[in-house]
Symmetry: C2
Amino acid sequence: MDTTEQFEKESALSLKLFVVLTRALESIEKQVVNNIKSYGLNLTEFGVLELLYHKGDQPIQKIGQKILLASSSITYVVDKLEEKHFLSRKACPNDRRVTHASITDEGKQLIEEIFPKHAEALNEIMGGLNAKEKELMIDLAKKLGLHAQGL
Amino acid sequence: MDTTEQFEKESALSLKLFVVLTRALESIEKQVVNNIKSYGLNLTEFGVLELLYHKGDQPIQKIGQKILLASSSITYVVDKLEEKHFLSRKACPNDRRVTHASITDEGKQLIEEIFPKHAEALNEIMGGLNAKEKELMIDLAKKLGLHAQGL
DNA sequence: TATAATTAATTCGAAATCGAGATATTTTAA
DNA sequence: TTAAAATATCTCGATTTCGAATTAATTATA
């Protein structure tokens, strides 16, 4: 096989991988969203609350980095969660440009209720793979993500 | 290891897989979107055009099934593409409920220009994995997606 | 120190997506 | 054969996300 052919084959694989991954994640997310929306949250809101619950108070801008969301979008999501009383904004004493988002007791209570069910549902949704395969896929996804991120 | 412990471990893996996959695909899509938007298309529009180019005319509703989009959203996307003269609607002679979407010459020209570059870019974006790993991941993603879809 | 560059959060308008409901047509079944 | 159920598309209003521009505060630099 010459180099051109080699390259064609590799490209076809990359394309295929992209399509298959996209479709798989669409199906998975559809399920997850369904589970979470019965608690009045969307996936982004859940992600933000979960982050605050497990990692503690965060500068608003840090949240955007972790959830991969534009700064204007975080403002919007934090507004929504604040309206629902699941988090509160707290001025940062060191740097007056910064606002911290902090999960409320009500928010904690919600996450403590949702999270185990979310984990269980996710486990069913991911039931197409066994433990070994999941570990394998985690490694592959990490490699893939790291490379793509660094471009 | 007892069954509870087993289950906890499996759940943790599922959770991790979900997070890692989501992050990876976010990074990948960000790159792909950047490449495509320089041609005035978003990812959905590109997907629709590409489908029509490679699979021929399609009933509007079929498009939604393949791209995983709500019927109201397809109407919107097809409107956009029609405005840009990349596709046209054609009444179905057999079933008057149905409208076919058909790629125009202008649309074909665009896809013929974009697609090779898209494939090449995607190949770089996916450069974190070698061919064997890609094949492996394709299989895993297929399994995962099929199972999630069937729930 | 004064000025310039950077950073954090917000506002605003536009785009993309959804779900519920409407309309037209076709298919099923009583 | 007619009435009921199903199907395809579209309209409409609401939600979520984005990018560009704005404001305020901090840090770097001349």
